[in-house]
Amino acid sequence: MSSRNIARRRDSILAVALLCGIVALFLPLGRLGQWPLHLSPLLLWLAALGTMLLLFLCKLPPRYSAIICVAGSLLGAIGLHRLMADGAHGVGAPGLWLALIGHGLLVWRGLERISTALADRRGALSLAAAPLVFGLWLLFLWEMAVVGFDVPAVLLPAPSQIGDALVTASATLAADFVQTFIRAVIPGFVLGSAAGLLVGVLVDRVPFLQRGLLPIGNLVSALPIIGIAPIMVMWFGFDWQSKAAVVVIMTFFPMLVNTIAGLNALSRIERDLMATYAATYRQTLLRARLPAALPFIFNALKVNSTLALIGAIVAEFFGTPILGMGFRISTEVGRMNIPVVWATIAVAALAGSLSYGLIALAERWLTFWHPSFRRP
């Protein structure tokens, strides 16, 4: 509604963006002095201003204006980054920062145009377009702010520094990844989830256990189970076994609770149908109840994929051989080598999101019949 109204009127956001961008041209740039007349930053920035002007004057269909916005933002971003690399720096360069504000408004307009243009599309690419642009813009702002204001790397390293650390420390990071993720997280996750599922099915057979265990399981899944980490380290030693044990315990309860809930998800009428087929317990379980429980089980798997990583990393804070992501984080923090810490966190984030994504894909594949996956 509102965006359509804006499109009909003169675009005030773009007007402000243009104003900022043009005024910025006449402001000083710190050590660089004035905008350099011969250099590419000026050309790139003028191109960005050109797209703003074009969008301000012409009423284009949202699809084209989205593309133009993104292209203009990209050119402007490269230009501003070059400008900073050439020496525009710090508080003495209001020109750069005002241009950055104008650039932000252009990106903002671009995001709005993208979401109007792709509002009805459901493809993966059109769903990813706006978040992608937004994420890149955040990275760009982060880089500009950290480098431009000389924020000490101890407080917040720039994305480029983190990227450097990812490359230079890649061997260590890979070894840590194997130690934490392959040796502790995956076995622990599989064992804990499988045990939770099995116990869930067993408990479901015995109403007494179900009544007694369900409240306790619910209570336990709200507790800070991570606290058992020191005990596990004491019992199973410093190596990956203790971490896997923590992961097993952390993943067990969500799976148990969800399995019990899922096995009860089958409605009365479907149970009756299985009864009229004279289905045995095993047949009912395999053909009707477990499939009906799948959404719950996948829910638990998703929760567990995050919990497992957290459990393994935090358990390493309590003692570990000289390997592992948690160990790397705590030692490099101690040495104030913050870019490596961020790189480790980036690896953990990637591992976490990828395993979550894999589980989500498997869910889509196995529970295609569920209403939440039907096309609207």
Binding site: L111, S115, L309, V333
Partner: protein, 304 residues
């Protein structure tokens, strides 16, 4: 969000006769298994000790008695933990450093401050996201993806980095807690604020209600159930955040510091009683939120 669906607290609250009985029976069973485990796990070190003392003859009952009263057991017996809990909670003055209540309060303080901050931020962001379509499209995927990131891994960095700038004590822990609370609340509230059906929104439009009025009289009330499920997840996360926040710098006080000190000096009984305190803390917080929820439900005319 996802954890929340796994947390129906009603079975505990509606203490139906048979449920209560089953729970008690299971708890009894757990305690029995615990005692058996105590004997089994402590037997190894005990036998070593017997051997070193040159003691060749020992009866099973002696072994059991010794296993129950070890100074630093592999697994302490429930009554040892209960005794230590009793000593450090009820027999010690609250202001003393040996009191578990003191440590629990240090942790709870940070957790609550972080919880309030994170919740307010989460609600604020959700309100903005719901009203700006472009933001929802651009930010929601990131907020959801950020849930899959082990955020807790950042905790030591926040503590140490803030510490190097002179910010110590309550604030860094509260920041970690707030950070952990923020995401479930934001996601739950976006879901809740968009939960009114189009027909209800249309009704508000026929009333010529402003955006603010729609928010106040329709969206916010409709989002309450979502808010409270998120809050339950958030508060238990914030307790975890505060505890983990006490680990990296070897904080002087707090449940996390107790855990760490216990693990350094092999004081297993101390670890276990700190764990029980943490469980009571988290469970109590979730219970309080459940009570607030029921109170508000009743004021809104819901049937409990």
């Amino acid at each position: 969000m996802t954890l929340a669906t796994a947390l129906p607290w009603r079975p505990l609250v509606r203490f139906g006769g048979s449920t209560a009985l089953s729970v008690c029976a299971i708890l009894l069973l757990i305690i029995v298994i615990w005692y058996a485990g105590t004997v089994k796990m402590n037997a190894g070190p005990l036998l070593d000790r017997y051997e070193r003392a040159g003691r060749t003859e020992w009866s099973f009952s002696e072994l059991v008695a010794d296993a129950m009263s070890m100074e630093r057991p592999v697994l302490p017996a429930p009554h040892q933990v209960a005794a230590d809990f009793n000593k450090s909670v009820f027999q010690t003055s609250i202001t003393s450093r040996r009191s578990l209540v003191y440590h629990a309060w240090v942790t709870l303080e940070a957790a609550l401050l972080g919880f309030v901050l994170g919740t307010l931020l989460g609600i604020g962001l959700a309100i903005v996201i719901v009203h700006v379509a472009a933001l929802e499209r651009a930010m929601m995927p990131w907020i959801i993806a950020s849930q899959t990131i082990p955020i807790l891994a950042i905790a030591p960095m926040i503590i140490v980095v803030l510490g190097s700038f002179g910010v110590v004590g309550l604030a860094p822990k509260a920041i970690i807690s707030a950070y952990l609370c923020f995401f479930p609340v934001a996601i739950g509230m976006v879901k809740g604020l968009t939960s009114p059906e189009p027909i209800h929104l249309d009704l508000m439009r026929t009333y010529n209600a402003t955006t603010r009025q729609t928010l106040r009289f329709l969206r916010l009330p409709a989002s309450l159930p979502f808010l409270f499920t998120s809050l339950k997840v958030a508060i238990s996360l914030s307790v975890v955040g505060a505890i983990v926040g006490e680990l990296p710098t070897g904080a002087q006080a707090g449940l996390g510091a107790r855990l760490l000190a216990g693990s350094y000096y092999g004081q297993t009984v101390q670890i276990w009683s700190a764990l029980i305190m943490a469980a009571i803390l988290a469970g109590g917080c979730v219970g309080v939120i459940g009570m607030i929820q029921r109170g508000i439900d009743r004021r809104f005319g819901g049937t409990p």
